[in-house]
């Protein structure tokens, strides 16, 4: 077998890589913000806010219960028929964000619920409002607990973001597809791209391990790790 790799592919692949990073980073960050809100609503909503609980739950079930690809297509092709036109990038970012928000909401909810109830009680006994107790006591602990599942979600979304080449976004996968089609070097191009993805996964893992260690509470073990 005669494998051919060309340096000339690299600038395009690097552009694709940058776009993959941008899509992943933005959707994960926006998804985290939205996911935390969804989780807080699902854990704490009561009384007059109860309808929000229903909405948040329906949202989470819908987006976790349908394929990302279907969500992307529905957004990209569906919204223009409603008179909302979006660039492929915007539609992709939106789809990725809405999707990961639902998953992240579940991770955040789990983390919030594993903060011991005595923490909230002690905070309220001091005179902190519910929101203050959430902000200063519950969330700082929950955010630490959520790092391991959140790392998995990050890796998953980074790989999952490849589907957006289907609406014409030239991220890593899109660039690879183009180069491969032009040069008839499918195997080689995809090997290089796979290595790019692998390098990204490695990078994310290292960064998040670092964050996890930096935020570790002295004296406490990390749940799930010996």
């Amino acid at each position: 077998m005669n494998l051919v790799f060309r340096w000339a592919w690299l600038p395009r692949l690097a552009q694709g890589l940058a776009l993959t990073l941008e899509l992943t980073g933005l959707s994960m960050a926006l998804g985290a913000a939205f996911g935390i809100v969804l989780a807080l609503v699902r854990v704490y909503a009561k009384g007059p806010l109860m309808p929000l609980y229903g909405l948040a739950s329906a949202y989470v079930h819908f987006f976790r219960g349908t394929p990302l690809l279907v969500q992307l297509m529905a957004l990209y092709y569906g919204l223009p028929t409603l008179g909302v036109a979006m660039s492929p990038f915007t539609a992709s970012l939106l789809a990725l964000t809405l999707n990961t928000a639902a998953y992240q909401a579940e991770y955040f909810r789990g983390a919030i619920q594993s903060v011991k109830s005595g923490q909230m009680l002690a905070a309220r006994a001091l005179g902190l409002t519910r929101l203050q107790a959430i902000r200063y006591v519950v969330l700082p602990q929950a955010l630490r607990l959520v790092i391991p599942p959140w790392s998995n979600e990050l890796v998953y979304m980074m790989k999952g973001s490849a589907v957006v080449y289907l609406v014409g976004v030239l991220e890593l996968m899109g660039q690879a597809k183009n180069i491969a089609a032009r040069e008839f070097r499918n195997f080689e191009v995809y090997i290089v791209v796979a290595l790019f993805y692998l390098a990204l996964v490695f990078l994310f893992t290292v960064i998040l391990r670092f964050v996890e260690n930096r935020t570790r509470i002295p004296g406490l073990g990390v749940p799930g790790r010996p």
Binding site: K116, A125, V137
Partner: protein, 248 residues
């Protein structure tokens, strides 16, 4: 009168946990609540600062009705310390930050003022040198002393203690009790649920014996321990002496 509890009722499902509890506390007084487990002692304390909402009855702190729906309960809670059986220190914060949190976020003190105040309270419970330690790095006795410092820092009118030594290894109980004894002697108003009869005898102005959601008998320790009137009290004291040993 600093605290007045009137006819408190609380029900969980079919079970009536508090069935009309009334008592009061003068400024500077220490009262100790004793009684079998499951009797509603914790529920009573939590109803006092409305960590649990009572179904019926009223609670007054000085002239303010805490149980009124119009009251700002956060303002009230800031004036009532609460010490939990299992400490409930904020696990992600150092001892210093545990004590500072309420000072900064509830009382609005600057970081500098809060630090000074918090360090003074930590020194008062003998833990100034542990200011930078996290709860998981402290012994149970030290954690409970930090939680007392956290309560004290808020300048409470009253501190509620819910079995503050029950989660501690026997050799650590003494350090917490001695902090509490000093507090009582310094004039702090305290309502303490405990099985520590030695503490009750030496510090309490009055003992309240509760059973099944009602106060069965109350009186000065001398009278209640030496000549209890109610057969239920006699029975409880006999059992508690078997469990925890006689008086020293």
């Amino acid at each position: 009168m600093l605290l007045r509890v009137e006819d408190l009722h609380k029900r969980y499902g079919k079970e009536e946990v508090l069935r009309g509890v009334s008592f009061s506390l003068e400024k500077g007084e220490t009262k100790v609540i004793i009684g079998p487990s499951g009797t509603g002692k914790s529920t009573l304390l939590r109803c006092i600062n409305r960590l649990t909402e009572p179904d019926r009855g009223r609670v007054f702190l000085e002239d303010v009705e805490i149980t009124s729906p119009r009251v700002n309960i956060n303002k009230i809670r800031a004036q009532i310390g609460f010490v939990f059986q299992d400490f409930n220190l904020f696990t992600h914060l150092t001892a210093l930050d545990n004590v500072r949190l309420g000072l900064m976020r509830v009382k609005g003190l600057s970081k500098k003022e809060a630090t000074e105040r918090a360090m003074r309270e930590l020194a008062r419970v003998g833990l100034a040198d542990k200011a930078k330690a996290y709860p998981a790095e402290l012994s149970g006795g030290q954690q409970q002393r930090v939680s007392i410092a956290r309560a004290l820092a808020m300048d409470p009118k009253l501190i509620l203690f819910d079995e503050p030594t029950s989660a501690l290894d026997p050799e650590l109980i003494g350090e917490v009790l001695s902090v509490m004894v000093e507090l009582a002697q310094s004039g702090m108003t305290m309502l303490v649920v405990t099985h520590e009869m030695g503490f009750a005898r030496s510090v309490a102005d009055e003992i309240i014996f509760m059973e099944k959601g009602v106060i069965v008998e109350q009186g000065p320790p001398e009278q209640l321990f030496k000549s209890p009137k109610h057969p239920r009290t006699v029975e409880f004291l006999r059992r508690i002496t078997e469990l925890y040993g006689g008086e020293k």
